[in-house]
Amino acid sequence: MNIVVPVKLVPDLVEELEIDESGAALDTTWMRLMVNEFDDHAVEQAILLKERGGGQVTILAPDAEDVDDVLFTAAAKGADRLIKITGPFEEQVNNHALARSLAAVVEELQPDLVLTGVQAHNDLDGPVGPLLAEYLGMPYVGYVSGVTASDGNVVAQKEYPGGLLAEMEVALPAVLGIQAAEEPPRYVAFSRVRQAMKSADISEQAVAELDLSGSPTVGRMFQPEAGERATMIEGDEDEVATRLVEIFKDAGVL
C-alpha cells in the first residue's frame, strides 16, 4: 500500500508562549517547534501498516526550523520517502492554505491511504485531515485508533466518547485522522537518525503562493485569565496533606 503521511510542526508547550507586539499572534522569537504529537502517531500507524502488509511510506512536511530532523527521524523509523514542501510558510500559515499546498503534492503521489494527526493544538481553522480529503476528493474518517487494510478499502476503528468504537469501512483512496496508533510511537536510537541523515534524501517541492482563504482573522490573543486560579497550598508534603485532609472534610468526602 502506498501511504502518505503529512506532518506539521507546532509550538512546543513546554516553553511558555508569548504573544507578540501585534497582540494577535504568538511571538516566534523564542518559540520552539515540535512535531504535532498526533502526526507522530500517524507516522507510527503508517509504519505498522507497512510492516504488516508491505508498501511504501512517504512523509510530507511543510518547511520549518528543524523539520529535517523530524523527517530523518521518520526515515529512521522506517519511512521510505521524505518530502519537504517549501514556500512562504514562515508567514502566518493556516490549515486551509497548508491543506491546499499538500493536496497538490499528495495528488501526484497517488496514494492509497493518507494518514495524518486527527488534530493539532493550533488548528484554529480546523484540522488538516478533512480539508485535505476534500481537496483530494477522498473520503475522511477521523478519531481513528486502529486501521486494518483489505482489498480496496480499510476498516478504521473510530473513537466516540465513553470508549465506544465504530468500525468504519472506508473506500480507498482515503484520508484518516489518527487519534492514536495501535502501538505507542517507537523509539529510534539516535545513531539510526544520524544514519538516516547520511543516507536518506529529502526532496523538496516548492509552493509559490499560499491561498489563505477559509480561516478567520484573529483580532486578539490573550492568556486565560489568572483571576480564578486555584488557591495554592504551600509547604512540604506533610503540610500539604494536612491541608488537603481539612479540605476533603469540608467538602464532605472524608
Partner: protein
C-alpha cells in the same frame, strides 16, 4: 445570506450529545445579535423525537436510512446542499468525533470559512465574536466571525447544556435528503467499551492520574490513595494509550464525562481534551510540579509538589483521619 444560526445536532445511538445543547445556547446568543432564528439541523432516521427538547426556533429534520448512524460521507452530502441553499449566518458543529469529521470537508467544498476550538461566542455591536481556545488551553484567540456563512466547531465550557434545552417542543420541518448514493464510508459495527470494574461517571470520589505518572506500577500507588479515600482511579488519555489503565477509566473528550464530589488530579496538566470531561466536578484539587499547568486555572485548590512525595503522606493522613 440570511441571519439564522444553524446548529448541527449531534446524537449517537438515540441520544443527543450534551454539546448539541451547548451549541443551541451559543446559537441563541448569536441569533439575538443578528435578529435571525436558531435553527437546529437534525439528521437521522426515525429520530424525530430527538427534536423534542431542543431550544430552537425551528428544527430542520432530514430523515434517510443512510443517516441512521453517523458517517462522515453521508452527513457531509446531506448538509452541503442545505447549507449552500439556505446560506445561514453561521453553522455550529461540535468539535467532536462527529462534527470535526464533517465541518472541514464542508468548509473546503463550499469555500466557507471555518473557526474551530470555539469555546464562546457573543454579539458585539453588530459583530459576531468568537473566542477559541488553542495551544492546549494556554492561549485564547478572539476575532470576528467572517462576513459570510461561517462554519464553527465548538468545545464545551462556554455555555451550560441546560441553556440549550427547552420544555417546549419546537416546530419541526421535514427536509428531503439529497440522494445519498455511492457512499464511501459505511459503518460496519459498533464495539462496546470493555465493561469496567467501576463506572467512573457515577463515582463520587475520583483520583485522576496523568502524564506526571512515570510508570505502570505507579498507577498502583494511586490505587492505594484511592483505597484510603474510598474512591476510584481514572486517568487522562496518555496513560490509557500506554495500556496502563483500561479505556473505561479514561476521562475527557474521548473518554467519559464525570461529575464527582471530589476530583483529585495528580500529574494532570489540564489539556482541554481532558478538562471537558471534568467541568461538572464539584471540587477539583490539582497536584502538579508545573505551577503554570492549566489545570490550576480550573481547580479550586492546588499544590505544585511532586505527587510521589505527596501520595504516601496523604494516604497516611487520610487513614489516620478515618481511624480517629
Amino acid at each position: 445570506m440570511n441571519q439564522d444560526i444553524y446548529v448541527v445536532v449531534e446524537h449517537l445511538r438515540g441520544q443527543a450529545a450534551d454539546i448539541s445543547y451547548v451549541m443551541l445556547a451559543a446559537a441563541r446568543v448569536l441569533a439575538q445579535g443578528t435578529g435571525g432564528n436558531v435553527v437546529a439541523v437534525l439528521l437521522g432516521h426515525d429520530a424525530q423525537e430527538l427534536a423534542d427538547d431542543l431550544a430552537a426556533d425551528q428544527v430542520l429534520y432530514v430523515d434517510d436510512p443512510a443517516l441512521a448512524e453517523f458517517t462522515s460521507d453521508a452527513y457531509e452530502k446531506a448538509l452541503a446542499g442545505l447549507v449552500e441553499e439556505n446560506a445561514p449566518r453561521a453553522v455550529l458543529f461540535g468539535d467532536t468525533s462527529i462534527g470535526a469529521d464533517v465541518a472541514g470537508g464542508l468548509s473546503a467544498q463550499l469555500e466557507l470559512p471555518l473557526v474551530s476550538y470555539c469555546q464562546s461566542v457573543r454579539a458585539d455591536d453588530g459583530a459576531l465574536k468568537f473566542v477559541s481556545q488553542i495551544c492546549g488551553g494556554k492561549i485564547m484567540t478572539e476575532g470576528d466571525l467572517p462576513d459570510t456563512t461561517t462554519l464553527v466547531t465548538m468545545i464545551p465550557g462556554g455555555f451550560k447544556p441546560e441553556e440549550g434545552q427547552s420544555a417546549q417542543r419546537p416546530e419541526v420541518t421535514p427536509v428531503t435528503a439529497p440522494a445519498l448514493e455511492d457512499l464511501r464510508v459505511t459503518l460496519k459495527q459498533y464495539i462496546e467499551p470493555e465493561v469496567g470494574d467501576v463506572d467512573i461517571s457515577t463515582e463520587p470520589i475520583l483520583i485522576a492520574v496523568g502524564r506526571g505518572v512515570q510508570s505502570e506500577d505507579d498507577v498502583e500507588f494511586a490505587e492505594e490513595l484511592a483505597e484510603a479515600l474510598g474512591g476510584a482511579v481514572c486517568s487522562s488519555r496518555p496513560l490509557v494509550d500506554q495500556g496502563w489503565l483500561p479505556t473505561a477509566r479514561m476521562v475527557g473528550k474521548s473518554g467519559k464525562r464525570v461529575k464527582p464530589k471530589l476530583y483529585l488530579a495528580m500529574g494532570i496538566s489540564g489539556a482541554p481534551e481532558h478538562v471537558e470531561g471534568i467541568a461538572d466536578s464539584e471540587l477539583i484539587v490539582a497536584v502538579n510540579t508545573d505551577p503554570d499547568a492549566p489545570i490550576f486555572d480550573l481547580a479550586q485548590y492546588g499544590a505544585d509538589i511532586d505527587l510521589y512525595d505527596l501520595i504516601p503522606a496523604l494516604a497516611e493522613q487520610i487513614r489516620q483521619a478515618k481511624g480517629s
